[in-house]
């Protein structure tokens, strides 16, 4: 209760300060990212508790990435990167484990770079960008796995991860397109 005046101050100074980008003030940024990160975390949780095992590691829909894609298109790359990294660290601590966190972080960094790059070209739709991100996400995980296990034979998983990345990316892209159509 007593903290509420303190919380409003950065908003006031931030809006007139040095960061008047389209995201608005820094308090708006923090609130927005926190909200989206918690939404993404719920998606991660729902996905983690669904008893679904295709028999091959690394294959999942990654429904939480819908939030990342929407953050990227509605706000910007800073929001998307923050949401993605926060979600992975918290999900890693809560249910995916430290190793899962490591894989996801590598995948997230690669896919974020890919998404930002492809979006900048202006040639691709949300679905195309998301598809590339799905593939890059899996490739990042594969690279970390290869480095950890010190055995390049793990690249036997390459085609499987590539195709599953395409499928998951397209699905995430379609969902994101539908959501963006409404929230824009």
């Amino acid at each position: 209760m007593t903290q509420s005046p303190r919380n409003t101050r950065p908003a006031a100074s931030g809006s007139g300060g040095s960061s008047p980008q389209r995201g608005g003030s820094s308090a708006q940024f923090v609130a927005r990212v926190a909200l989206m990160a918690s939404l993404a975390l719920i998606f991660s949780y729902v996905e983690a508790i669904i008893p679904y095992n295709p028999g091959i590691p690394g294959i999942k829909l990654g429904i939480a990435n819908v939030v990342t894609v929407i953050a990227l298109y509605k706000y910007g790359w800073k929001e998307a990167a923050s949401v993605s990294v926060i979600r992975i660290i918290v999900a890693g601590l809560l249910f995916n484990g430290v190793f899962g966190m490591l894989y996801s972080l590598a995948g997230a960094v690669l896919s974020l770079i890919g998404m930002i790059g492809l979006k900048k070209t202006g040639l691709f739709s949300v679905i195309g960008v998301s598809m590339a991100a799905g593939v890059l996400h899996n490739m990042g995980q594969l690279l970390v796995a290869a480095a950890l296990i010190e055995d390049l034979r793990i690249f036997f998983y390459f085609p499987v991860l590539l195709f599953s990345g395409i499928a998951a990316g397209i699905l995430v892209g379609i969902i994101s397109t539908m959501v963006l159509r409404v929230v824009k």
């Binding site: 028999g55 590691p57 070209t121 040639l123 691709f124 195309g128 590339a132 010190e150 034979r153 590539l162």
Partner: protein
Amino acid sequence: MKQYIRKADIILLIVLIIAGLAASAALSMSRSAAGSDARVIIESGGELYATYPLSEDRTVIVPSPQEGVSAADVPDDSKPASEQFTHYNVVTISGGKVSVSEASCKNQVCVHHGEISQGGESIVCLPNRLVVRIDPGSSGEGGGYDSVTS
């Protein structure tokens, strides 16, 4: 209103699918049928742990490198692995097929991987840094899947 799917998306999709098909074709060629002297190679923590003939049935307990097991206390394969170690995998060779029958890890990916029998195939357990693979041996060399029909 922007199009939902653009030309560049389709091109990217086709390129990715071709890359995937090319990779899987290259990988399937690198596999070959296991010969009669095929060996099962077990690597733990990036180092060779043991090799066994694929033709002999056996069950092997492989402690994870994080157990810090010295050469002195070799696992007793006749006792349950869970009584001896907290981090381990149990590799079973049976009827020319290899599987990881038990694992201490949470995700159980290596157990769900099932059986392998072809030269070049492998099962990987990331948490315990275990790789189980089949070396096709000399008589299986160059045979590929076609050696079954020839």
